[in-house]
């Protein structure tokens, strides 16, 4: 029996100004299948799905969706309501839930008639519970969504789509925020739903999970579909080659003996404004010539730890010492002075001043340097010479060092920040999510730079949600959970995953 087609995308193209986000992409989705849409960041996966869902209007191409009888009908483009009505549900990377109301209301929100006199909550609850029973998507319905875990919130998002009779579900990088165990639960839920007749498009750039779990794989590169195959015929190297267009750059890492401590946190406690920023009496020593990886699910105190090392937060208790010297009342300027290089988590928001030039952003941390200024006046020639030199050395590409930094791509913004940090030969480097959102090539370049800095003698704190990145780079690994650090006794993925989830190993 040939599988029934539920969705066809034909020749979809979209450009944003000079950038071609999608170029003549065609896809077919069958009933009851999981299609993985793979590609590096910026390959056009999300744009494609946003066109399907009506958020963007394609420049060319058409979409057909099977109706309830299974007959393909053209979908009016540019209308999210039409996509919803046709049975397409989308779960975004960033959830769109109202945190102050409970899951039940979140699920029914928007699908109730506006002028209904009373809400038939009992019927709604019965339907949702039916969906939960069939799919296994367990989530507490009566607790405000703000109190739910990330995994639970995601399940609420999926329930919301199913409640609206989605026959096609699009999941945009659903595992980015989950522990390995939560991800496994999600996959088995999806399997149950697929058996129930649902079709799933699953966007990811993680090869491992795609191979484990999809039926078919389509690969996008630079907005074009470069390959499609049954998962049974695929292997990791083959897909990776398709995604990057060449063999994946592997970061070579050799063993070096660690040196003297460059960073010592002793019983550091931070009472943050939220749990995300709180630290509970954390002690951590980072030595020269070593990379210490901090693994953990986002929102477990990583930002608190990073803010302390960056000098943005003064700890409520405990001491911070760099190179053996305690730093009293740390400020960003004092930490930089002490030899700490900081790669911020949010490079657009904290890393650069987008409206100022690339050259200015390259010197923003060393305005007191007599090479940069004399008598309070900027030495503009020195600043642009410095920028030209760094742009070449660190391969920062863009419209030129005089142009506003916001015109650079994410990868080049990161290179700008790396240039600024590494140029000062820091003793300690704080790398907070240094490759998030970067494509494989740029991410490998960042890893290479970190290893070079390590060889040169720097100590590095690598905070990342990408466990593969930590396993690939770090000499020692800690897991951060509820503001506490625990050294990971092994480098086993599975066990680290359990520690991240807070399950006793």
């Amino acid at each position: 029996m040939t599988p029934k087609t539920v969705l066809t995308l034909t020749g979809l193209s979209k450009r944003f100004g000079p950038v071609i986000a999608n170029d003549d992409v065609s896809l077919t989705l069958h009933k009851g299948e999981v299609l993985a849409l793979l590609g590096e960041n910026g390959a056009g996966k999300t744009t494609l799905m946003n066109m399907l869902f009506g958020h963007y209007l394609p420049d060319a191409g058409r979409v057909e969706v099977a109706d309830a009888q299974g007959i393909l009908e053209p979908l009016p483009l540019g209308h999210p309501q039409a996509a919803l009505a046709a049975g397409i549900g989308m779960v975004h990377q960033h959830f769109a839930l109202a945190e102050n109301i409970n899951a039940l209301d979140n699920i029914t929100l928007g699908s109730e008639p506006l002028l209904a006199l009373r809400r038939n909550r009992a019927a709604a609850r019965a339907r949702i519970e039916g969906i939960i029973a069939r799919s296994g998507l367990k989530a507490p319905l009566d607790v405000p969504v703000g109190q739910l875990s990330v995994g639970e919130r995601q399940r609420v998002e999926i329930l919301k789509a199913l409640y609206r009779d989605a026959r096609i579900l699009v999941l945009d990088e659903p595992t980015a925020v989950l522990t390995p165990q939560e991800a496994d639960t999600l996959f088995s839920n999806i399997r149950a739903m697929v058996a129930d007749g649902l079709s799933v498009i699953f966007i990811s750039h993680k090869l491992r999970e795609v191979l484990a779990f999809s039926d078919r794989i389509a690969v996008l590169r630079h907005g074009k579909k470069v390959g499609e195959m049954a998962t049974t015929e695929a292997d990791e190297a083959k897909i990776a080659r398709m995604m990057v267009g060449a063999d994946t750059p592997k970061v070579a890492r050799d063993q070096i003996a660690a040196g003297a401590p460059v960073l010592s946190l002793t019983n550091v406690a931070v009472k943050g404004r939220s749990e995300r920023e709180s630290l509970e009496h954390v002690s951590l020593t980072v030595n020269a010539r070593e990379i210490v990886g901090i693994a953990g699910i986002s929102g477990n105190g990583q930002s608190g730890l990073a803010r302390v090392i960056a000098g943005l937060t003064t700890p409520d208790a405990g001491t911070v010492a760099v190179d053996g010297a305690a730093i009293e009342n740390p400020t960003p300027a004092r930490m930089v002075e002490a030899g700490v290089g900081r790669i911020p988590e949010d490079r657009h928001h904290e890393g650069i001043v987008g409206a100022m030039s690339v050259a200015e952003n390259m010197v923003i941390e060393r305005l007191d340097d007599p090479d940069i200024q004399s008598m309070g006046l900027l030495r503009r020639e020195a600043i642009s010479e410095n920028a030209a030199r760094l742009a070449t050395a660190y391969d920062v590409r863009g419209p030129g060092v005089g142009a506003p930094a916001r015109l650079l791509s994410g990868g080049n913004i990161q290179k700008l920040i790396l240039a600024r940090v590494f140029e000062r030969s820091p003793r300690l480097i704080l790398a907070n999510q240094p490759t998030r959102g970067l494509d494989m090539g740029a991410a490998a370049a960042v890893g290479q730079r970190l290893l070079e800095a390590r060889a040169r003698g720097a100590g590095i704190v690598l905070i990342s949600e990408d466990l593969d990145e930590i396993l690939g780079l770090a000499d020692r690994i800690f897991v951060i959970r509820d503001g506490q650090l625990t050294q990971a006794p092994t480098t086993e993925r599975e066990q680290i995953g359990l520690m991240m989830a807070g399950v006793a190993a």
Partner: protein
Amino acid sequence: MIRIEPRAATSKTFSIGVPVLSALIALGFAAIPLMAAGANPITAYGEMFKGVFGSVFSITEMLTRATPLIFTGLAAALAFRAKLWNIGGEGQLYLGAMAAVAIGSGVLDISGVLLIPIIILLGAAAGAAGMAAPTYLKIRFGADEVVTTLLLNFIILIFVQMMLEGPLQDPMGLGWPQSAPVLDQGMLPPLMDRMRVHSGLILAVVLAVIAQFMLARSVWGFKLRAVGENAAAARHAGINVKRSLYGVAIISGGLAGLAGVSEVAGLKGYLTADLSPGFGYTGIVVAMLAGLSPIGVVIAALFIASVFVGADGMSRAMGVSSFLADLVVSVSLLCVLVGGFIAKYRIVRSEKAGSAT
């Protein structure tokens, strides 16, 4: 279907073209009420032009009018560059004026070479204090400076009225609520014989040039721009954001205080509670028209002063109300705001979002 997309880069043509075009469009719009009032817009604008550039006297009047606007415009432009919303230029102007008459009307009877700088410095200091206080409240307690500076204007104005009927009242003033005059040697020297234009104008233009230079070339200006454009990144990079804010608050308040000094010690000679017809507020318009550029402030102040002085001339010649000037100024501000949007975003017309069949 119309969509709005951000532009990759804002061109230089836009940053100059938008204000100029806005001014022209504003004059175009103002032609409608002119016609409604029964006047021929072309003749009216001819009279307006004559009212400004018709004689040496009218030009000097325009320059006199522009002088306080350059000061208050600079005050707003610099603060706004740091995203410190100083709406209190009007109050700071009065603080500067009060300080000028307090020290200049007889307490210190010394030579003008000393007295004039003292008046200027004290006036600036008073204005600076008037902005430093709300900035402290903002940094310490998170009090919105838009609200505090705006409300302080009214408090300060009432305080001025109180002082003018109390300690600062001119004993020889026959009971009028006005201060004693600034001593002759304390007055800013006039620029031309028998004209009102005074050396406050020179001071204003020089300060604009210095501000332009410092903003682009100095470490102080670098930090100010960084704080204004992205305070989080500035802080992360080790810039002391609070210090930058206090610094610009003091300079901004000081410049607004100088507007008061210049009006009292350059023009009127004494202080009354109606010293300023809203120069502090108009300075905000000047700064916005100027795109927050200090040199642009000089040009925008000259434009707005021309519109006001010209409208007076037109009103006398044609019997049309001079409130038209307010209309031209407000419409050109609206046009600049719309133009600023167009400079940052482009409006794309695409085929209607019908079904792609």
